[in-house]
């Protein structure tokens, strides 16, 4: 029996990445304004990220397929339907992009996205994501601990909380044309939560550049809290003394708290949080306290009544 072997490709035959993208840019320009308007401009989603340390976590949980992670999103900036972000996020321009870090810090600074990508070694982190709507996913994020960035600006002793502010531009984010939430999207963490090594500054998933609908070019991931705590497409990080008011607390303080730790024993005002549907599974599974990260983070909340500070 003969087995057909693919002819080996000579390295000399492979177009270098830069050249390849130059060629694409040239073609885009040549295609004229009408066609380029249709192409997702400045979006690099899908490109592999270089130098990512693969995760060694042996999670029993199976990864959620990329297709589901990128087509089922809550990202109200692009519409309230689950499929809206995938449809509408093409208009988001992820370059140029900066994050301003300011407030109670010794060294306030405006970071360029290219600088942020190199600020610390990129790691793959496989995290469970539990949405407040009682569904969940398992996502291989790429990024590094937010602490690496915060240490650079040297928070002062007055920095008790960290506030994250997402992009506000209704031209790029059509969902912001309706007052669904009080734009821009605001989220916050206590400083010890923000400095916790699990809290991630994510720039990719599945080894590739973060797709726009998942919060490109840079977002927060806090795996032990409900998904909405993980602010997307952030442009500003503010270190503050007083607890900031996050968008969902502002929208409905009875239903959403500042902490919003995943907790099967504290129900949402209108539905149970005891179980969740893992995307791709039929039967619901029990929700774990702190989304299964209790061993690492429960100590942050000793002495607190989590039914009151929900």
């Amino acid at each position: 029996m003969t087995v057909y072997k693919l002819p080996p490709i000579q390295p000399s035959e492979i177009t270098p990445r830069d050249l390849f993208h130059d060629r694409r840019r040239f073609m885009q320009l040549a295609a004229g304004a009408s066609l380029t308007a249709l192409l997702p401009q400045n979006s690099f989603a899908g490109e592999p990220l270089a130098g990512v340390t693969k995760s060694t976590d042996r999670l029993i949980d199976e990864l959620t397929p990329l297709k589901d992670i990128t087509s089922y999103n809550n990202f109200y900036e692009f519409g309230t339907g689950k499929e809206d972000p995938a449809k509408n996020a093409g208009s988001l321009k992820t370059r140029p992009w900066t994050i301003t870090v300011e407030g109670e810090v010794n060294k306030p600074k405006v970071f360029d996205i290219e600088e942020l990508l190199k600020l610390a070694p990129l790691e793959e982190r496989i995290y469970r994501l539990r949405c407040v709507e009682a569904w969940s996913m398992v996502i291989p994020w790429v990024g590094y601990s937010l602490a690496a960035l915060l240490k650079q600006v040297e928070p002062t002793s007055k920095a008790k909380f960290v506030e994250f502010i997402s992009l506000h531009d209704p031209e790029q984010m059509q969902g912001q044309k309706s007052p669904t939430l009080n734009w821009p999207y605001k989220e916050g963490l206590r400083i010890d939560e923000a400095m916790h090594p699990l809290t991630l500054l994510a720039v990719g998933l599945y080894g590739e550049v973060l797709p726009n609908q998942n919060g490109a070019p840079i977002r927060i991931v806090v795996p032990w809290k409900y998904g909405f705590k993980s602010a997307k497409s952030i442009v500003k990080i503010r270190l503050v003394e007083k607890m900031p008011v996050s968008s969902w607390v502002e929208a409905n303080p009875n239903e959403y708290g500042f902490y919003s730790n995943v907790n099967p024993d504290v129900d949402h005002a209108r539905w149970s949080q005891a179980k969740e549907r893992r995307i791709g599974e039929f039967l619901k599974r029990p929700t774990l306290p702190f989304n299964g990260y209790g061993e690492q983070v429960a100590s942050l909340y000793t002495g607190m009544d989590l039914t009151k500070d929900f």
Binding site: K67, D68, S71, Y72, Y76, T80, K82, E83, E133, W135, T180, L181, A251, N252, D267, R270, W271, S272, A274, K275, R277, I279, G280, F282, L283, K284
Partner: protein, 216 residues
């Protein structure tokens, strides 16, 4: 010329007021097939794996959406008949109402089988604790006697007047259905608001007719 075409329209309108049985039969078959389109689309999308990442949520939403839609369509029959004088419309009403029940039954079955998978403890907890289910469940239960009595034999058995009283349950059912939708939405109330406004218009028209007959 103008007068002639106006007369032509008038004749047509007159023709629309009464339909012969053949036309009505065809109309019924058409409405029946059209009412099955949402289910057909749902089945095709389920078969071709086009219901997105959370198919159970989508099936629940779509069947609920069409339950409310058919409830409102059913409630449109009487006002439309009064406004246009097309008395034959009432002969489509039973089928439309039964389709509302059919989609409600699919909606409830989706919850029972696909969403909860017969987890009775969890279902009872939902009914007691979740306001939108506390409202939604009795709304579904109330639809059952209406569906059962939607045939000539039972109308005769019950008697027209009592049958009418029983079927006026459709009003609390429709209101409850809209409330059920409203209470489950997280933030964007566009859809439940649309249903609420349409229902308000349909109820307002009835109120106007009722007041006019009382005063007349």
């Amino acid at each position: 010329m103008t007068q002639h075409s106006a007369e032509g329209t008038r004749t047509k309108v007159k023709n629309l007021k009464t339909l012969n049985n053949t036309v009505l039969s065809w109309l019924k078959i058409s409405v029946f097939l059209i009412a099955l389109i949402p289910l057909t689309k749902l089945a095709i999308n389920a078969y071709t794996d086009n219901l997105g990442a959370n198919p159970i949520e989508k099936i629940t939403h779509i069947t609920g959406y069409w339950t409310l839609s058919f409830l409102l369509i059913t409630l449109t029959v009487t006002p439309l008949r009064r406004l246009t004088g097309w008395s034959w419309l009432v002969r489509l009403r039973r089928m439309l109402g039964l389709f509302a029940f059919f989609y409600a039954w699919l909606h409830f079955s989706t919850y029972l089988v696909l969403d909860q998978f017969f987890d009775w403890a969890s279902i009872v907890k939902d009914i007691v604790k979740r306001p939108y289910i506390t409202v939604g469940f009795p709304v579904f239960v109330l639809l059952i006697p209406l569906a059962i009595t939607s045939n000539n034999r039972l109308i005769k058995l019950i008697g027209g007047k009592r049958w009418l009283t029983l079927h006026s349950l459709i009003y609390p059912i429709a209101i409850g259905g809209v409330v059920h939708f409203w209470w489950l939405v997280k933030k964007d109330i566009t859809e439940p608001l649309t249903f609420a406004l349409l229902l308000a218009v349909l109820l307002a028209i009835r109120l106007i007719y009722w007041v006019r007959t009382k005063w007349a």
